[in-house]
């Protein structure tokens, strides 16, 4: 993992985006008395800036170091979880970091503490894990070839070369070459979605030959809200192709939350018919019921466009809606089971199960599952303003698949 050269270090906050731009600030007066007022997070440039971690510890208790790191990174990183507290109890650590980026600090602390970052709670966030596989979901997030750009880490994952001959249809020898990468956002960034599919700008081998193909050159998988994404660069095999990619340049753009409001309902037994107004949208919480072990939260929301691609944004809107038990442990959201339109009003049922599941897309490590207690609290962070954040990067000296 290396920091970008100064040219690529710039951390661009571009034009303000429009996430729920149509939605005005949440109107607290519509809350029933049993709810706390929505908390508005101020729009600050610092919420979009990458972390700069400074730590000078010599033989210090590990738990304190972890908590300091989480605090400086403005992320919880699961450091208060019971397995981590138990693990850290009798351990001490020495750390010396000066204005390190989040990823360098994460790697240093992970290596020294014997912990590994892993996805948690159905891939909703990153936490430290004990005895976890060094390979995060099948790739090495601390690979030396990875590059940091602002709050993002760009990791080359794999390069595939497929050649085929189709005797049956007598077609020509065909060749496909593509590079798969991972991009991760540091936890403090609330990324709504990647905003540009065409992120690849240049790819040359050591002979200076361009490996850019003629077709669509790049795209994101898992397009929606998250904190890590798979990207693909479609390249082309050229005559006398070199042994390595000398330079691959790209620029990623993300739609990042810059202002939000949080609805918190502390007593879910009193949720019935609670109303919340968001600009010209009205949210009515109908009920939370248990059906066959699955909790179903029914609500209605007005003036929401559920047609693609807005639909995806709508799903993103609900992805931050959390049901928590008395210990603040989150239920796992397992999808939206029904959406019905009645004029301007849209009925939505969001399903939850009372299990914390550490099960990312690629199950390359142990799955941690634990049951949670009865549902007690609802927390819903709703972005009310977004900005486009740009992460230019350059990867160098990546080996290409070659003959054995």
């Amino acid at each position: 993992m290396a920091r970008e050269a100064p040219r690529l270090m710039r951390w661009c906050v571009l034009a303000a985006g429009g996430w729920l731009a149509c939605a005005a600030a949440l109107a607290q007066q519509d809350f029933a008395p049993s709810t706390q007022p929505a908390q508005t997070s101020p729009s600050t440039e610092s919420s979009l800036q990458p972390s700069a971690i400074t730590m000078h510890y010599k033989d210090a208790p590990l738990q304190g170091v972890l908590e300091d790191f989480a605090s400086q990174a403005d992320a919880d990183l699961g450091v208060q979880r019971r397995p981590i507290v138990d693990y850290a109890k009798s351990r001490r650590i020495s750390i010396d970091l000066d204005r390190a980026d989040f990823w360098t600090a994460l790697r240093t602390i992970s290596d020294r503490a014997g912990l590994r970052p892993q996805p948690y709670a159905s891939d909703a966030r990153m936490v430290f894990q004990v005895n976890a596989n060094a390979m995060f979901g099948g790739f090495d997030m601390f690979s030396d070839a990875a590059k940091v750009s602002g709050g993002f880490l760009i990791i080359p994952w794999m390069c595939r070369l497929n050649r085929s001959v189709d005797y049956e249809h007598d077609t020509d020898n065909q060749s496909d070459l593509w590079l798969e990468l991972i991009v991760m956002a540091e936890p403090k960034l609330r990324v709504i979605n990647p905003s540009n599919q065409e992120w690849l700008q240049q790819c040359v081998d050591e002979h200076g030959q361009s490996l850019l193909g003629g077709r669509r050159q790049s795209h994101f998988f898992n397009n929606g809200r998250g904190w890590w994404w798979t990207m693909q660069a479609n390249l082309k095999e050229v005559p006398n192709m070199g042994q390595r990619i000398a330079s691959l340049r790209g620029e990623l753009k993300f739609n990042v939350q810059s202002k939000s409001e949080t609805i918190q309902i502390d007593d879910l037994s009193k949720i019935q018919d609670l109303t919340k107004t968001v600009g010209d949208h009205t949210i009515v919480f109908k009920q939370l019921v248990n059906q066959g072990g699955q909790w179903k939260l029914q609500l209605s929301i007005t003036n929401v466009n559920l047609r693609p691609p807005v639909m995806r944004q709508t799903n993103n809107l609900f992805s931050t809606l959390q049901i928590l038990d008395a210990q603040n442990q989150p239920y796992t959201q397992v999808g939206i089971s029904s959406i019905s339109n009645h004029g301007q009003e849209t009925g939505v049922t969001i399903n939850f199960v009372g299990i914390i599941s550490n099960a990312p897309m690629m199950r390359a490590h142990a799955v941690e599952e634990q049951a949670v207690g009865p549902p007690k609290t609802l927390r819903w962070e709703i972005p009310t303003e977004t900005q486009i954040v740009s992460a230019p990067f350059e990867l160098t000296d990546l080996q290409l698949p070659t003959e054995p």
Binding site: A134, M135, F139, D140, F142, S143, A145, I155, P156, W157, M158, C159, R160, L161, N162, R163, S164, V165, D166, Y167, E168, H169, D170, T171, D172, N173, Q174, S175, D176, G213, K236, E237, V238, P239, M241, L398, Q399, L400, P401, T402, E403, P404
Partner: protein, 470 residues
């Protein structure tokens, strides 16, 4: 994606004939399967040798042993159409060797009638299409659906002109398809049928006219594709993953009733033009096995992706082993309600279809087997797997698992389960869809194999382009 001009593979006729390994009457005597007639309907059965036959016969006296052998083989390849001529020849004064070779050719033609390649002769000028189809089907030795309603409707007002002399099955099928607009496809009973082209576009699991093929007897092996994957994973502790997969297809002429799967260990040699072996230490040959009667098989093998690998597979040798039914008995039970201990003797074994029951919607056929076969569960299951339970419209119920129980020494009680669902094969023989239905079982049909023969099919493909860069 890059493209280069392909160089077509050549098929070298190294192995000229199927090797009949074992004649294996595994089952007891029963009535023979119907023997197809292959005499063309368009020509009278000539008894006087034609010039081609006479030329081959003349070569049977050649001083060169190789020429005499080749002449005998040529007579065999002319097929059943020349049988009367050869028999007439035997009435003449012939040398011992010529007589022996003519008799040998006749024996081989007779053998080929059942298990060998079809030899098709059709000479029609503006003839009714149905007549051409009936003749073709007869010479092929298989129904091909030509008496089905759809084909008969199509053929009713059409005529065809076709001119074929001693053509092999695939050549004849291709010529016939072009001349008639009928295409080979996979019928509902997993057999090859002819259908009007408009009804069955792309319904074959593969292109049987693919020129990259090698025909050996009644079997043909096709080169389908070769795929090379090189994956390079970055980071610590990650490994490269390279693989090369060659896919072939084997095909049996429709008249063959292959009941045993081909062996997985079919690859014998694979070298590039530099003489380097591409067979890995851990060779993972594969032959697809599907439900029901199978007449094509997907073959797959992994190959080595080695340093300095050539541009072509210079030679690939393989050998497929099949078990082919040579005799069978058709058993029909018109009303399952009256099934009551129907017993058949099969090669020293006794098989009794005891009764058919309905246990809460689960249909079961109870069978008792006794004899040495009970020690070979695979053989028992293979034998019983051809039992079909049908509704009034001859629609087959979905077969479920079989269970076995031994209550008495020397006997095996088998329970065959059936669901009232319909099986649909949208893409032909490969892959199936179970459609929830409420078929009512009425009849039983059983093609009971009573004699089989093991067949080895050695084949060789050469000059197959390997995947390479631009």
């Amino acid at each position: 994606m890059s493209r280069t001009a392909p160089s077509p593979a050549r098929i070298t006729p190294v192995f000229a004939a199927v090797v009949w390994m074992i004649c294996c009457p595994v089952m007891g005597a029963a009535q023979d399967s119907p023997v197809p007639t292959t005499a063309p309907a368009t020509q009278p059965a000539a008894t006087q040798p034609t010039s081609a036959v006479q030329a081959a016969v003349d070569q049977l006296t050649n001083d060169d042993f190789g020429i005499r052998q080749a002449a005998q083989q040529k007579l065999v390849e002319m097929g059943q159409a020349i049988e009367p001529q050869l028999r007439q020849l035997l009435t003449r004064d012939l040398s011992d060797e010529v007589r022996a070779r003519v008799n040998g050719a006749l024996r081989q033609i007779d053998e080929n009638r059942l298990l060998g390649p079809a030899v098709i002769t059709l000479h029609y000028q503006d003839a009714p299409l149905q007549q051409v189809l009936d003749d073709f089907s007869q010479q092929v030795g298989a129904d091909l659906g030509v008496s089905g309603r759809q084909v008969m409707q199509y053929a009713k007002s059409r005529r065809a002109t076709i001119d074929l002399d001693h053509a092999d099955f695939l050549t004849a099928m291709q010529v016939l398809s072009q001349a008639t607009g009928l295409r080979p496809t996979i019928g509902s009973a997993s057999s090859m049928v002819l259908m009007p082209a408009r009804n069955n576009a792309n319904n074959m699991a593969f292109n049987i006219f693919n020129p990259h093929r090698r025909t050996v007897g009644a079997f043909t092996v096709y080169a389908i594709s070769c795929m090379l994957n090189r994956n390079l994973v970055y980071g610590r502790g990650a490994a490269d993953q390279n693989s090369m997969i060659l896919q072939l297809m084997a095909f049996a002429e429709p008249k063959l009733h292959v009941i045993g799967p081909a062996s997985q260990d079919w690859l014998k040699e694979c070298i590039d033009e530099k003489g380097q072996s591409l067979i890995p230490d851990v060779h993972q040959g594969f032959v697809s096995i599907e439900e029901g009667r199978q007449w094509f098989w997907r073959l797959q093998t992994n190959l080595l992706d080695i340093h300095g690998i050539g541009k072509k597979i210079a030679r690939l040798r393989g050998e497929l082993k099949f078990t082919v039914q040579t005799k069978s008995e058709q058993i029909q039970v018109a009303d399952l309600n009256h099934l009551d201990n129907l017993t058949r003797a099969v090669a020293g074994n006794s098989i009794t279809l005891k009764q058919f029951t309905n246990d809460g919607g689960q249909y079961q056929l109870h069978v008792m087997v006794s004899g040495p076969m009970i020690n070979d569960m695979e053989q028992v299951q293979s034998l019983l797997s051809t039992i079909q339970i049908l509704d009034d419209q001859d629609e087959a119920l979905q077969p479920g698992p079989m269970s076995a129980q031994t209550e008495n020494v020397g006997t095996l009680d088998m329970t065959l389960n059936y669901q009232p669902n319909r099986i649909v094969r949208p893409g032909g023989g490969a892959g199936r869809i179970v459609v929830n239905s409420a078929l009512v079982p009425r009849k039983l049909r059983w093609n009971l194999t009573t004699e089989t023969r093991a067949m080895n099919v050695p084949f060789e493909l050469d000059n197959l382009e390997l995947p390479h860069g631009p």
